[in-house]
Amino acid sequence: MTDKHTQYLLASIVESSQDSIVTIDLNRVVTSWNRGAENLYGYKAEDIIGRPLETVMLPADIKDLINKVNNIIQEITVPIYETTRLHKNGREADLEIMLSPVRDATGAVIGISTIARDITVRKMQEHQKDEFIAVASHELKTPVTSIKAYTGILLEQVENYADETIASMVKKLDNQVDRLIQLISTLLDATRLAAGEMLLDIEPVDLNAIITELVEDAKLLSDRHSIIFNAGHLKRVPADKRLIGQVINNIISNAIKYSPDGGEVIITTLETNSGIQVSVQDFGIGIPEAEKSKIFGRYFRVRSQLAEKQQGIGLGLYITAGIMRQHGGDIFVESTEELGSTFYLTLPYSNT
């Protein structure tokens, strides 16, 4: 194929793509605009080429785009992201955007190509699905409250029964109800998080005290692990006591779950310049490099033989990360396959 032919072919692919494909120069001025972009934004190519991309953007997003353009100029990859842009008629559309560099013959970055896909329908479906899960989970709570209460009374009554099988069955019944309650609360937390409705009940919290209690509980879970807690000197930190406990509990139980041969789980708290850092280290199976960035995503589960035997719906770390962000804190992981993982949680002393 001749160069000219190749160029013609490429241009035709770009032109007929349903995705919006737009190029801008380093000052964010539009240099090309395909048919997909005309459909998405409502502007004809001849109307917008030479004008800034800001024309179709919400003012609040402009600073973010400038940062992303600067990253690309510095050869830093910008991950695919979601944003909202403006149609000519004023309607807002939810988009998924991929930015990549446009280079001249010498390889220097001379512009940015932005490929955008309309995800408004997908967003709406996600929202409907979340709403359905929220309503269904809420409706499940009432019968589950009743079952839990009846089981609690039964448990007390069978305590002194001579027939131990009945007592043991009621105990199992109670455990299964607890599992169901846990599942419902996980689903509700995840939908509240997605809808931005996770409300925090902030109070000064003694993190070391919470962890000490969780460590005691965790010791009962496994006799093959030795759980070590190095408590640093901490001031009380503003946080939601229940949710932070849930976060740390999740990280500790993951550490136990994913180190099936036993060994140490080391929990350390220390004070940083601006807050508190909690780390939880295990010497288990670790996380494959390719999956590290995905583990905080929704419904994600590590693909391995061990993981397949574990229960769960892949929402634990998604909720954990959401709760940390809601606190103005963060979560990240260092991990080597076969050697183990360390999860770090940070919480600021002031979350304003």
Binding site: K141, T142, T145, S146, K148, L199, D201
Partner: protein, 118 residues
């Protein structure tokens, strides 16, 4: 002196185990399926109220407000119960405490005992 509890909750499958659990702890329990008698001031004041938020006709929070605005009942502890997060709403309605469904009978007994001691 046996302490009296009024439970206002419209779901029989919740009222029954709550009543049994509290009776087993030695309380005298009266149950209403709505807040009608409360709003008409047609009841003998108990030592504590347990009120579900979602009730037919009148919201449980409004019943709580009614009790807290009435001189004869404002000193009686009210515990609000709901399947949705209710702490803040309960505080605004002047309730003394809140319990989110699902709860264990231990949590129910503890919260009642705590407010009866005060």
């Amino acid at each position: 002196m046996i302490k009296t509890i009024i439970i206002i909750e419209d779901d029989p499958a919740i009222v029954e185990p709550m009543t049994i659990a509290l009776k087993n702890s030695g309380y005298f329990v009266i149950t209403y399926f709505s807040g009608e008698r409360i709003l008409n001031n047609d009841f003998v004041p108990p030592d504590i109220f347990i009120i579900d938020k979602q009730l037919p006709m009148v919201d449980g929070l409004d019943i709580c407000r009614h009790l807290k605005q009435n001189e004869k009942t404002m000193h009686i502890p009210v515990i609000m119960v709901s399947a949705t997060p209710i702490k803040t709403l309960a505080k605004h309605a002047m309730a003394d405490d809140a319990l989110e469904k699902p709860f264990t009978i231990k949590q129910l007994r503890d919260i009642v005992a705590m407010h009866l001691i005060k």
